[in-house]
Amino acid sequence: MSYTLQFGQVWPYLPTLAAGALLSLQIAFLAFCGGLLIGTAGAAALSFGGTWIRPVVRVYVVFFTNTPQLVQIYFLYFALPDAGILLSSFNAVLLGMTLNAGAYLTEIQRAGFESVHLAEVEAAEVLGFSRWQQILYVILPHVARVLFPPLSNQYILMTLGTSMAAIFGVEELTGRAFNVNAQTFRSIEVFSLTAALYVIVTFAATALLAVTGRLAFRAKMRIV
């Protein structure tokens, strides 16, 4: 079979695909921020929490890391309405991804928390830092450098994981790629272009994370 590549048929759709890439980036960014907050709280609860909070967080983490993200969002989108809660496509995807990310980030940040020398934490406690002040001023700056590779990996995985949002009606990059493919039938061209866009998006996301790390925590981080 001699297949002639015809990118000319697909170029006109580039703005549509780029807009989809932006939406993927947006969903991943929002879910990551939410996940970071949940993760910090969860890690703090697991490291310093009392006897009641720890099992609760543990159940949350085990459930969300041991089930597929697709199944989690499917439940939020298609099963909750039977219980009376109707979430829109975007909200269901965002909520599902945030909860999923929160569980993974709890584990990642707990590892970071426990890598800080106990002496430093105790020194801060002696100086009168509250628990939250200890986390913000002593623990996080120390672990920012150590945590950067796993955090950026998680961010990339999440950005690529937004591709399942198309199943729920969110027109992000993969969904739009399927639509363009359904109209032009140029699978090879459409999906090579989509792959290239995903690479650009993940590069941009990692660069953003590195800049944030450099500014907020004064940690020098490499992007590639």
Partner: protein, 269 residues
């Protein structure tokens, strides 16, 4: 360190080239007969064209019709499950020899695959919930309307051309789309009503089909563009089945009623 990196990259490049060298071509009629089996794509989420029976095998109008064709050709039938978004790529790459599943004949699709003469017709209508005020499909052309559709199906193009103001939510398959409509995520579904009938029965919702149908479409079998001989043979076989009344018989068995619009095929296709 650099040398081992270069060596690893060379191995990776060779693997990529080696794995991609197996480009699949669509099979010719002779190859199919020689291999003894014909691969047919059937979509099992379109009852009664295709569905899973108790043994979890694919059955329905499409499966039975394909079995008739395979019997005529003297080969075994292999059914491959396909969905709306992937059935055309499957045909193009030779994963299946022809595809069924209400393959509507459109000029855009004819650019990349070939069609046989029509096997059956389909009537596109509007499915909505009782209580909605739509009397004619043109009523859907306003911004307050959200349509729930299936990705990669023909109504999408129709909606882009004729219902420009309506908002569209695209889901992956018919069961999901009908469920979303039942849950109130949209106002209507524009598609072939016969095929969503069984999905509708799964939900406790009062359905309403808008009286005026949208259009009649012709569905044939989809084949790859360079499948020499297969299309010509299929056309002759399909005409035979129409003439003997077998097509109408299989349709009546699975749909319960006669085909709403006759295909009108003549001997000089």
């Amino acid at each position: 360190m650099l040398r081992s990196l270069m060596r690893r990259m060379t191995v990776a490049a060779m693997l990529i080239v080696g794995l991609s060298a197996g480009v699949v071509e669509a099979r010719t009629l002779d190859e199919i007969i020689r291999s003894g089996a014909i691969r047919v794509g059937v979509n099992p989420t379109l009852p009664p064209l295709g569905k899973f029976d108790e043994k979890n095998e694919i059955t329905g109008f499409d499966a039975e019709y394909a079995a008739e064709l395979a019997k005529m050709l003297g080969v075994k039938l292999e059914i491959v499950q396909v969905g709306s978004p992937d059935r055309i790529p499957f045909v193009q790459t030779g994963k299946i020899d022809f595809v069924m599943g209400a393959m509507t004949r459109t000029p855009e699709r004819a650019k990349v695959i070939d069609f046989t003469m029509p096997v059956h017709t389909e009537v596109m209508g509007v499915l909505t919930i009782e209580g909605k005020p739509y009397k004619h499909w043109k009523d859907l052309d306003n911004e307050g309307v959200t349509l729930v559709q299936v990705r990669g199906t023909t109504p999408i193009k129709f909606i882009e051309d004729n219902l420009k103001k309506a908002k569209v939510t695209q889901l992956d398959n018919y069961p999901d789309a009908v469920r979303a409509l039942a849950q109130g995520r949209g106002d209507a579904l524009v598609d072939i009503i016969d095929f969503v009938g069984e999905h509708m029965n799964k939900h406790q919702v009062k359905w309403k089909v808008v009286e005026t149908p949208v259009d009649v479409y012709y569905c044939g079998l989809g084949i790859a563009k360079n499948a020499t001989g297969l299309r010509d043979w299929l056309n002759v076989a399909i005409f035979e089945l129409h003439k003997k009344g077998k097509t109408a018989e299989i349709w009546k068995k699975w749909f319960g009623i006669d085909m709403l619009y006759p295909t009108g095929v003549g001997p000089g296709f």
